[in-house]
């Protein structure tokens, strides 16, 4: 029953998406007001039916309706309620449905009752139409279960609170850039690349960027807690796929600011909006097509890959063609900004972000290209990304601080402050690193010094531009977190049994005991560790080893004692002979700063949207 209703509502949504895309387009062309006015009701209709399909699938999961193949493949009666309600996006079909739902939400947000652009709705409708076809014909979440299909349970790796909100947030970001894309393309088609375009595009890009930042941060936190390797970023192709639109989106926001203030670099901004959305699509393609040999790739059906690649090519080529044909030629002489100005640094930063994006793109796609040309199978290691990102990061950070210092003073004054700040930050960084590590590793000193340099430059202007300042402070905190946690990190992989102790950093870890444990869909062993620092009790940690019985899959459940300045992290390895276990213990200073920095960046973005509104209200 649910199966038929769900499929029906998807078909109805497809119909509405078709109406939303084709009729207003025709109306704009023929100047038919009735056809143009169709856009909003059609968008609402599409939203209602996508939402209905989504709710039906959720209902099917909650009520354990295993007549639906997708539910049977990703759920089980023993699965806890929270995960059943969110298992919809646990695999390919459901996450594409979520993608479409989020696109419909963004569409509704764009379609304000009095003031909406039918062309924007039409473009969004077109994207939605393509994805609905993709859903219905290559990955239908409501397809019937095969005869005798046994409920398979949700992938245990995804049974984590971090996973519950990570995909929706990430998709809000990914898909959010489609609005900036649609607004830009619509303005190009209508020849109205004006202030209105800048303002709306900027707000939507900022909102999408905030969601994407939050989504990436949650993903990193999930990987840290669930994968049991204590890392926060692996340069895995799927992680890169989310970082690419983030970098392009960051560049887009900065260039839009420049356009808003100075009316220049419009062409660059429009191009960035197109690139940004293409990268979101590329991300979806990379994750969902199964071309990557990667950690999270769960889909591996070639027809899906071909379809998505085709979709990607059509939308990208269409966007670029419109851009090339309709981008108004500017006769105005390009304004040359002085080297030491905010405008120049905004441009430099956007260029640097795009270089960073391209190098990551190269590293991510290189194995695919080599494979496609039948030159063998290769993989690009994390050292490549670290190596090429470091110089780009340094130059970007220099520019970030230098730009914040530009407050309309003379060159001499600027140099005076800059020199002072540079010396202070270098001395502090050297002292800090020297104190903690007793060595002078110049890479960490430079990174920390540049973070201080940004903070020192930003602090005086926090009140003037709170959004931008907090986002940039967040970035500095993030870099400090990354550098300090990787240089000060201590880890041991040891063979231990109850009664033995191990020293990691300033802490002693006593292995007390192990006991059996069981949950609704797993059983396992729980170990007890007592952590002491100079004979003072700090905490007790209970890492687990679980077997999820339905899939017969072994999982490590780490236990973490978080703190502002350090995390203590224990993961059980394997049971060995004679009560011995292999145990992985980490002492990770400053790791929380990474996610705290990410949160600050997101908060800065939200603040930037909010403060702009306030200014607008004052003027009105």
């Amino acid at each position: 029953m649910i199966r038929i209703l769900g499929e029906l509502s998807l078909y109805l949504a497809l119909l509405f998406a078709f109406m939303q895309s084709v009729i207003p387009l025709w109306g704009c062309w023929k100047k038919n007001l009735y056809a143009v006015a169709c856009a909003r009701p059609a968008a609402i209709g599409q939203f209602v039916f996508v939402l209905l399909a989504y709710l039906l699938l959720t209902y099917a999961f909650i009520t354990n309706d295993f007549s639906i193949g997708y539910v049977a493949a990703n759920s089980h009666t023993a699965l806890p309620f929270m995960y059943r309600a969110t298992a919809v996006w646990g695999a390919h079909e459901g996450s594409i449905l979520l993608w479409v739902l989020i696109l419909a939400i963004w569409t509704i947000v764009t379609a304000k009752p009095k003031n909406f652009n039918p062309l924007v709705l039409s473009i969004l409708g077109l994207i939605s139409f393509c994805f609905l076809i993709f859903t219905l014909f290559t990955s239908n979440p409501f397809a019937a279960a095969q005869l005798g299909q046994i409920p398979q349970d949700l992938n245990p790796l995804l049974q984590d609170p971090g996973f519950v909100i990570h995909p929706p947030m990430l998709y809000m970001g990914y898909v959010g850039f489609s609005t900036a894309f649609a607004i830009t393309i619509a303005s190009l088609l209508q020849g109205t690349l004006d202030r209105e375009w800048i303002h709306t595009a900027k707000n939507y890009a900022l909102a999408a960027w905030c969601f994407l930042t939050f989504g990436i941060m949650l993903g990193s936190w999930w990987a840290y807690r669930v994968l049991g390797w204590g890392g926060f970023w692996f340069w895995d192709p799927v992680e890169n796929a989310s970082l690419l639109p983030w970098l392009a989106g960051t560049a887009l926001i900065h260039v839009l600011l420049l356009v808003e203030k100075r009316g220049t670099a419009k062409a660059w901004a429009a191009l960035l909006a197109i690139i940004c959305f293409s990268l979101s699509l590329l991300g979806t393609f990379l994750v969902r097509s199964g071309v990557l040999i990667s950690a999270h790739t769960f889909a591996s059906d070639p027809s899906r890959g071909v379809f998505l690649l085709l979709l990607f090519a059509i939308l990208l080529l269409g966007g670029l063609t419109i851009y090339l044909l309709r981008m108004p030629a500017t006769n105005a002489k390009p304004i040359i900004f002085p080297l030491l100005s905010r405008e120049t640094s905004l441009l430099i930063n956007s260029a640097l972000l795009m270089i960073a994006m391209s190098t990551i793109l190269l590293g991510t796609l290189y194995p695919l290209i080599v494979d496609a040309l039948h030159l063998g199978s290769v993989s690009v290691g994390a050292p490549y990304f670290n190596l090429v990102m470091l110089p780009i990061l340094f130059i970007t950070m220099i520019a970030m601080g230098a730009a914040a210092l530009c407050q309309g003073q003379s060159k001499q004054e600027w140099w005076h402050i800059a020199r002072k700040n540079l010396v202070i930050s270098l001395v502090c960084a050297t002292a800090l690193i020297g104190f903690f590590t007793h060595t002078l590793d110049w890479l960490s000193i430079v990174s920390i010094a540049l973070s201080f340099w940004i903070i020192l430059s930003i602090l005086p202007i926090v009140k003037l531009q709170p959004g931008m300042s907090i986002a940039h402070l967040g970035f500095a905190v993030l870099v400090i977190g990354i550098i300090l946690s990787s240089t000060l990190n201590q880890e041991r992989e040891v063979r231990m049994k109850p009664g033995l102790a191990e020293r990691v950093g300033p802490y002693q870890f006593f292995f007390i005991d192990t006991a059996g444990v069981s949950g609704s869909n797993y059983r396992g062993i729980r170990a007890e560790f007592e952590v002491l620092k100079n004979t003072h009790h700090v905490t007790s940690l209970y890492p687990e080893k679980r077997i999820y019985t339905v899939r017969d899959m072994v999982m490590t459940k780490v236990d973490i004692h978080p703190g502002i300045f350090r995390d203590l992290y224990i993961a059980l390895g394997e049971p060995l002979d004679h009560d011995f276990w292999s145990v992985r213990i980490y002492y990770k200073p400053f790791i929380r700063w990474i996610w705290f920095g990410g949160l600050l960046m997101m908060a800065g973005g939200i603040l930037a949207i909010a403060t702009k509104r306030k200014v607008g209200q004052k003027l009105a």
Partner: protein, 140 residues
């Protein structure tokens, strides 16, 4: 060629130079950090330098996993059903490591023809198999 032309030419020259340097540095970095993915048969066929870093993919042969009594050292045999190679590793094996299942080891082949792994890769999908081994069904 007047002064403006000269200036433009020099700008063009230097920006081309900068781009060329950047691209060659990036390509160099890429070249240094690419790991070839090889099967035991390919390793047997090639004479690899002892410091040649690569990835080895195959199935863990049943009944070949041996653990050291006092440390975390392990050894096991990786096979592609034609050739076999012994892998040495010191550390904790990932959750999805099982005899008879696919595995990827990163490291290098030493002079005696054994594979010294620096990392055993955890693949998060239990149905995952290295692409070259996808035709191989069953266990050894």
């Amino acid at each position: 060629m007047n002064k403006i032309h000269k200036k433009r030419l020099s700008i063009l020259f230097f920006s081309t130079l900068a781009v060329a340097v950047a691209v060659s540095l990036i390509l160099y970095a890429l070249r240094q950090n690419i790991n070839a993915f090889l099967t035991p048969t390919e390793i047997a066929a090639k004479q690899l330098a002892p410091d040649y870093h690569c990835r080895l993919g195959g199935l863990v042969k049943n009944g070949t996993l041996i653990r050291d009594q006092y440390s975390l050292s392990v050894q096991f045999v990786v096979t592609d059903l034609q050739h076999e190679i012994t892998v040495y590793y010191n550390g904790i094996l990932p959750d999805l490591f099982r005899e008879g299942k696919g595995v990827i080891a990163e490291g290098n082949v030493d002079a005696t023809g054994h594979f010294n792994a620096t990392q055993i890769l955890a693949k998060h999908d239990e149905n995952y198999k290295p692409r070259k081994l996808q035709n191989m069904q069953g266990t050894t």
